[in-house]
């Protein structure tokens, strides 16, 4: 699949403060990349570098194979984005805003404005001035603008801000449709981790300006290292043998009141159960402890900062 965004060794400092430190990042066609990190980690700075707001100190950015600095206009033609809050010309109508944006993009067919307005559900309010819009509506009109010229890369900074739950679901459906059916590569930063879990195919985690890693959503959900967290409740009489067996087989576990929490590599889950049963260890109950993205995130970033 084509790479639509590639950040290579990108660094940026403000004064002496290094805010983005040798970041490498890739967004591919048709995928939604969640971009996560605690406050001040460099998320918005990275997004602003990728959208031409900030000049980078070091490194290269390619959009659909075009170098962002050397082929600025060609590269930016493939980008649609919302950076920080959605802002438009408040004294103009939503439609007028889109028309002006289309003018500068060039080559936007006349019917496209209605098409994107329908897509974001604003066709009925498009002729009102933007200053009368709610935050959610501004978010929608910004998304419509970002999609106007059929970009191959969509960069959205906290797009669920100000949306009600129905709006969030709708946005998720739109983004999934765009990625999976129209093949747009989407990079989304958000503090709504649950949202990201439902929306993204992959997540990159940034902390203190450095990318800590890239994970598939399944990997994140199941633990950072692909481990399943199993919890077995063992009959009191069999607990000693269970302890012995787990130690012999080298599993990491903790025990409290007969509840054994064991980290099991995905492929060893079934065999461990079999061993326990064959050793006549009586299991009262067994649960797979689902790791939330938040837990995973805290594990990866060291849990020092809360995500936002």
């Amino acid at each position: 699949m084509e790479t639509v965004l590639k950040l290579e060794n990108v660094s940026k400092s403000f004064g002496h403060r290094l805010v983005v430190d040798q970041v490498d990042l890739i967004v591919k066609q048709g995928e939604i990349l969640g971009f996560l990190g605690p406050n001040g980690a460099g998320k918005t700075t990275t997004i602003k570098i990728a959208t031409g707001f900030l000049a980078l100190d070091e490194g290269d950015v390619w959009i659909c194979g075009h170098h962002l600095v050397r082929e600025y206009e060609t590269a930016m033609h493939h980008v649609g984005g919302i950076v920080e809050n959605p802002e438009m010309y408040k004294d103009l109508t939503g439609r007028m805003n889109l028309r002006m944006y289309a003018r500068v993009q060039g080559g936007v067919p006349p019917g496209r404005i209605d098409e994107v307005l329908r897509l974001v559900g604003l066709e009925k309010r498009a002729d009102e001035k933007v200053k009368r819009y709610s935050l959610g509506m501004k978010q929608r009109i910004s998304l419509a603008q970002a999609l106007l010229h059929r970009p191959k890369l969509l960069i959205l900074d906290e797009p669920t801000n100000g949306l009600d739950p129905a709006g969030i679901r709708e946005l998720r459906d739109i983004l999934k449709m765009l990625a999976h059916h129209e093949g747009i590569g989407i990079m989304v930063s958000s503090h709504q981790l649950a949202e990201m879990q439902l929306m993204c195919d992959r997540a990159a985690i940034i902390s203190a300006g450095r990318i800590l890693g890239e994970f598939s959503i399944d990997e994140l959900a199941n633990g950072a290292a692909g481990q399943h967290h199993m919890r077995y409740q063992i009959e009191p009489d069999d607990r000693a043998s269970a302890r012995l067996l787990l130690r012999e087989d080298g599993f990491e576990f903790s025990e409290a009141d007969g509840l054994f929490d064991v980290a099991v590599p995905a492929e060893a889950r079934d065999s461990l159960l079999k061993k326990l049963v064959l050793a006549d260890i009586r299991i009262c109950s067994m649960t797979t402890r689902q790791t939330s993205l938040e837990q995973a995130f805290l594990e990866i970033t060291g849990g020092g900062s809360s995500i936002d």
Partner: protein, 505 residues
């Protein structure tokens, strides 16, 4: 280029929705109307109207009564005393004098009566009648005396007097303007105004009279002409030894003389008539340019900063255009506002001059290759509108630069307005204190007035207003002003482009 045009159209779309444009246009119309009304008031004192004939008639009637009774009294005295008194007695001599005086004055009044139109236009030039009336009084006195009462001295003087009177009598009785001017010039020569300057003035006056110009116009124009000739003559003879004359000043004066001559002969239909119209227009435009100056500072000073503070600049940055194009489009939009406002200013000021003050713009006279040429009034008006907006153009760039460099709208507009309308008068004040300071020459303010280099109004353009004060600040040449203004503008442009294209947003 297509993207640049698209950006420019977007900028104009945004600008059309800004109320400040319409507010300033309304202020412009109101201001121009107000100043026109004031100018109309001032103009009442400027126009030389002929005296109303009724007032002339009333004056004649009153004087006639006085002199008629004086004559009757004198005749009665003479009748009573002449038979017995010694002809040389003082009483009788006084009676002869009064008789002669009364006859001469009545003769003068008869003349005025039959030349009322001319007399009503002559103003103080009417004084020419005084020496003539005195001669006539002496003539009547002498002729009334019996031979015995005439002294030898009087008889001798009478023959001289008779020939003097005969020099004027025919022309006086005919009484056309040309005749009267002849008499006037002759009397002025006799009174010592027989120099080259006077001869030039006399020649122009006679030429104007021959082509049918009214007396009041002749005298109004020739006063300025004489003044210009005298100043030029003063310059030629070295004048005041403390005054240093620049070659350009001399040239200006020479041109002024040519223009007076041209007005007197070439534009005989309306030699001074509405000449102050262009001066009124100039005043109107300078006030209007003040309004335009405020407008462009507000527009240019907010173009980038207001988008930054509202966040809408993000739409621009996310567009696939390089930043220099954004700057160019915004700057072009500001220029467009200034251009349109200048045209509106021209239109509004021309209309209020015509409709309120009551004058159309007059052809502008200038000298080219030693010949006076005319520029149509509307072109002069348009050119003046542009020249008076050079300061606005400069501060457009200044405010835009501040806005591009990251200052807030309030700061960019405030600083620009402060300097334009606050520091400028301060500099002029400083110039009064430190006229020798070299650094004064490098302040931009005194270079804005390119009009006085390119399309100056001479004294012949001012009707009877006299001179306009030259611009405050050290004298500068056109080329220095232009080079310096262009250099400063380039610096501001580079600063604006550089700071916006390199700025992190």
């Amino acid at each position: 280029m297509i993207k640049l045009i698209a950006l420019y159209r977007n900028e104009m779309t945004k600008l059309w929705r800004r109320p400040v444009l319409y507010i300033m246009a309304i202020i412009l119309v109101l201001l121009s109307t107000g100043i026109s009304l004031l100018l109309k008031e001032a103009d009442r004192f400027q126009v030389v109207e002929p005296r109303p004939l009724e007032s002339v008639e009333a004056e004649i009637a009153a004087e006639r009564d006085t002199y008629q009774s004086m004559l009757e009294q004198a005749e009665a005295d003479l009748e009573a005393h002449e038979p017995e008194a010694d002809p040389a007695s003082p009483t009788l001599q006084a009676a002869y004098q009064r008789y002669g005086k009364a006859r001469a004055e009545l003769h003068r009044l008869d003349w005025i009566e039959s030349h009322k139109d001319l007399y009503s236009q002559m103003g103080s030039a009417y004084d020419f009648l005084v020496p003539y009336t005195e001669m006539k009084a002496a003539q009547f006195t002498f002729e009334r005396k019996p031979a015995a009462a005439r002294s030898i001295r009087e008889t001798a003087a009478y023959s001289v007097l008779k020939s003097s009177i005969s020099r004027y009598e025919a022309r006086f009785e005919r009484g056309t303007l040309a005749d009267i001017l002849d008499i006037l010039h002759d009397l002025q020569r006799l009174s010592g105004q027989d120099d080259a300057v006077s001869e030039k003035v006399f020649a122009l006056e006679s030429e104007m009279a021959a082509s049918g110009v009214s007396a009041q116009n002749i005298f109004a124009l020739s006063a300025g002409y004489r003044d210009a000739l005298l100043r030029l003559a003063g310059m030629e003879t070295g004048g005041d030894k403390n005054t240093v004359y620049l070659p350009s000043e001399r040239k200006t004066l020479e041109h002024e003389v040519l223009m007076y001559e041209y007005r007197g002969t070439g534009r005989a239909d309306n030699p001074i008539g509405d000449t102050a119209a262009n001066f009124y227009y100039y005043i109107l435009i300078s006030f209007a340019a003040f309004v335009g100056g405020i407008l462009v500072i507000i527009v240019a000073g907010s173009q980038i900063s207001s988008e930054r503070s509202s966040g809408s600049i993000k739409s621009l940055i996310l567009s696939p255009v390089r930043r220099w194009k954004i700057v160019t489009a915004k700057l072009s939009a500001s220029f467009t506002v200034l251009l349109l406002f200048t045209l509106i200013t021209w239109l509004v000021c021309t209309l209020s001059l015509q409709l309120i003050v009551g004058y159309p713009l007059q052809p502008y006279l200038y000298v080219s290759n030693g010949q006076v040429a005319e520029m149509p009034g509307w072109i002069y008006g348009l050119a003046t509108a542009f020249l008076q907006n050079i300061g606005s153009l400069f501060f457009l760039l200044f405010a835009f630069m501040l806005s591009a460099a990251g200052l807030s709208t309030a700061a960019a507009v405030g600083i620009s307005m402060g300097i334009r309308f606050g520091a400028q008068p301060l500099v002029f004040l400083l110039y009064q204190i430190l006229p020798e300071a070299v650094w004064m020459r490098f302040l931009p303010f005194q270079h804005f007035d390119l009009q006085h280099h390119i399309l100056p109004l001479g004294t012949s353009d001012l009707g009877t207003f006299g001179g306009i004060g030259t611009s405050a600040g050290p004298p500068t040449s056109l080329s220095f002003s232009l080079i310096w203004l262009v250099s400063l503008s380039l610096i501001m442009l580079i600063a604006a482009y550089d700071s916006f294209t390199r700025k992190d947003l």
